[in-house]
Symmetry: C2
Subunit: 423 residues, 2 copies
């Protein structure tokens, strides 16, 4: 794996030969197909397969990675080895080069068909900050928090690929000082910088997966922005948890980085105290030294360290299946907001502005408490490779737009309080 | 629609000519196809279409109703009118009769591919009982409860058809008197008797659906048993709501009753006080006079009245899309436990045994607090038709089995406290 590719990979590209993330792309007027990012190009796997250069059982001439993800680890490893060989052995150059398409010439599509979407809450710094904000007189962590990776189901149907416009959600909310709830556009729209993993190989009902089964079932990692309307979320969440405050949109990065590409990024996670129950134990270190970078309108506003997460991905997988719920190909599991111990490492505006009580001042002098229409939020991430280089998880970006529509009856009754109450 | 069918419909069958619910069935060794229940038979719509008797655009030679559900209300009404004509006009009898298959000869499959699954909490009696049980010193209803139909996302991948064995989930739980959580099979396994509806026609992101859009988007109603592990649910739910206490299994009835078949069941729902926000208002009465019947091991234990639900299905739909989340074909929305005002109308054991503090005594002398392995729980439901007859929503049934497997490391560490703590 230390061979040099013959494909040009600019310094700092992050799409070197040790990465090789999978995605789905389309050229104008053509059907989508599966590709791999390398340097400044996408390698067209369907084209390679059609030319007889790559084993393919209808995996790559497809609009999603799901077929290939379901094929299992042996197929994943074989494909990765073969693609590495094709991109490093100069003897293959003339055959392979026609299947390299410059990235600017393609549209990147949502790489996976999402089956179910589970969102965790696995950063102890995030959970403690939120607890301190909303339950200032209680222990900031609920009694279950150090015992299990707490999670909930999100909406699979609103998982969009990076770049999809994000419509500011309308909804019902009641601020602390208000007597009555009102209906209108969210006043506290936020992002959440997260890392997700996606299941490839399904499992059987009634058969929980231990943490050690992670590599056999999980295809890869990607970036997630779990857009959140804090005002809607706060008012609706008792007692069944978040619903419409989250379900309007979740954005994911277009590239899925194989689990094997992150082998060199594995680090010892934070110690867990008290010790976890046996079904959550694993011997291998499964912290991941992925550094996120959050950019608002071009300015870096946070660098959350994924290595600081309290609960690991294999523990999340084991917990999500402990009740016998089977995995399906395309199940997406996101980490929850990644926040580190430092104020500059916080992965959402809720924490960065302490629920809007402290302005976030950008280098151009503008300030934000929550997201405004027209704002663009981008999350990038990188991780170390075995050769000391960096690989990238790509980016997930989205721009906020006002809602294109709202139900007619609401215009009269719902708008008034908003105009009055909104700064 | 008052014509008599030539197909024999036994008295009390509930599958008369005013019902005509859709399902998916298979004969041994054959591919699944779409059918309609009538009398004691299933009408093979794929067969009718192949014989040129029914318009079909690949809707019926299918393993799910989703294609037909996506076709929209005009197609639904046309199919319903044509099927009614075929079953009532004696001139068609000789052509149609070969496509009637006795129900005992077919296997009924899950009728829909579930996109997202949303579960509401719309019975005021259920919510008040649960609130009183767990927050005895507070207002039993959370402040948001009368303002919106509270809901959460469940797991779409574990929605099973009636008859699928239900494995008792394992999980983490800590009872009030326990200092430490333990891992083992749920000790408080429950059912929840619910009525659900399924979306046919999708909607666009950013475009909320008003209550009046219900008929254009919703295909039909079915019965739902949202199996619940109360011990797991209670321990995990803070602050993100139910997750593993629900996600192991949800059972649905095999027949989807068209919205139009329930026209005569519409009644005025309970008054809503305070008045709801404009986006939740509708002029038409959308309560539904559906009576559920819950049977445990052959004994009726409750008759929950769906007409007593505080929030109506069109309000649920409007609320679930108010933030701009689009509908997908196959989105399943369940009502939450249906409980009436009377103790005999409670739709789950949590309420029937007041969280296990009162024994439920069955007519054969056996008692239950929660479900035991081997127990069979069946929910049936009926509603009035225009001619004063009854139509049935069929039934959803499931039998509890011990978990076939648990992760190996748990056997040593996790079992001990269970043996000790379990009565």
């Amino acid at each position: 794996m230390t061979d040099e590719p013959w494909v040009p990979v600019p310094a700092g590209s992050g799409f070197g030969i040790e990465n090789l993330p999978y995605g789905v792309f389309a050229r104008p007027g053509e059907l989508p197909r599966v590709g791999v990012a390398v340097g400044e190009a996408v390698l067209d796997l369907a084209g390679l397969a059609a030319a007889g250069l790559l084993d393919d059982r209808r995996w790559f001439a497809s609009g999603s990675l799901n077929g290939f993800m379901a094929a299992g680890r042996t197929a994943w490893l074989a494909a990765r080895a073969r693609i590495t060989q094709l991109l490093t052995d100069p003897a293959h150059r003339s055959q392979v080069e026609p299947h390299l398409i410059p990235l600017p010439q393609v549209e990147l599509l949502r790489p996976i068909e999402v089956a179910d979407f589970v969102d965790f809450y696995s950063s102890i710094h995030h959970a403690a900050n939120v607890g301190q904000m909303f339950r200032p007189h209680a222990n900031p962590l609920a009694p279950n928090w150090r015992r299990m990776p707490v999670a909930y189901h999100g909406r699979a149907g609103t998982v969009y690929v990076s770049g999809t416009p994000i419509f500011r959600p309308w909804g019902q909310r009641r601020e602390e000082h208000e007597l009555e709830p009102t209906h209108g556009p969210s006043r506290r729209l936020d992002f959440e910088a997260e890392v997700g993993f996606v299941a490839g190989v399904p499992s059987a009902p009634g058969h929980p997966l231990p943490p050690a089964a992670f590599r056999d079932h999980v295809f890869g990692f990607l970036l997630v922005n779990d857009w959140s309307a804090r005002d809607i979320q706060m008012w609706e969440s008792r007692p069944l948890g978040p619903f419409l405050g989250k379900s309007f949109a979740t954005s994911i990065s277009p590239w899925v980085v194989p689990v094997d590409a992150l082998e060199a990024a594995r680090v010892t996670p934070p110690a867990q105290d008290p010790p976890v129950l046996p079904y959550l134990r694993h011997d291998e270190p499964w912290g991941l030294d992925i550094t996120l970078e959050v950019e608002l309108n071009g300015h870096v506003i946070a660098r959350p360290p994924f290595a600081s997460m309290y609960w690991t991905p294999p523990q999340q997988l084991a917990h999500a299946t402990v009740n016998g719920a089977p995995l399906r190909t395309g199940d997406l599991f996101a980490s929850g907001t990644v926040s580190g111990a430092e104020p500059t490492e916080r992965g959402c505006l809720l924490e960065l502005t302490w629920n809007g009580t402290e302005d976030l001042v950008l280098p151009d002098g503008t300030t934000r408490t929550f997201l405004e229409d027209g704002d663009t939020l981008t999350i990038r991430a990188h991780a170390p490779t075995a050769t000391g280089a960096r690989l990238t998880l790509g980016e997930v970006t989205g721009t906020i737009h006002p809602s294109p529509a709202a139900p007619a009856p609401a215009m009269a009754g719902g708008r008034r309080p908003i105009t009055g109450g909104h700064p």
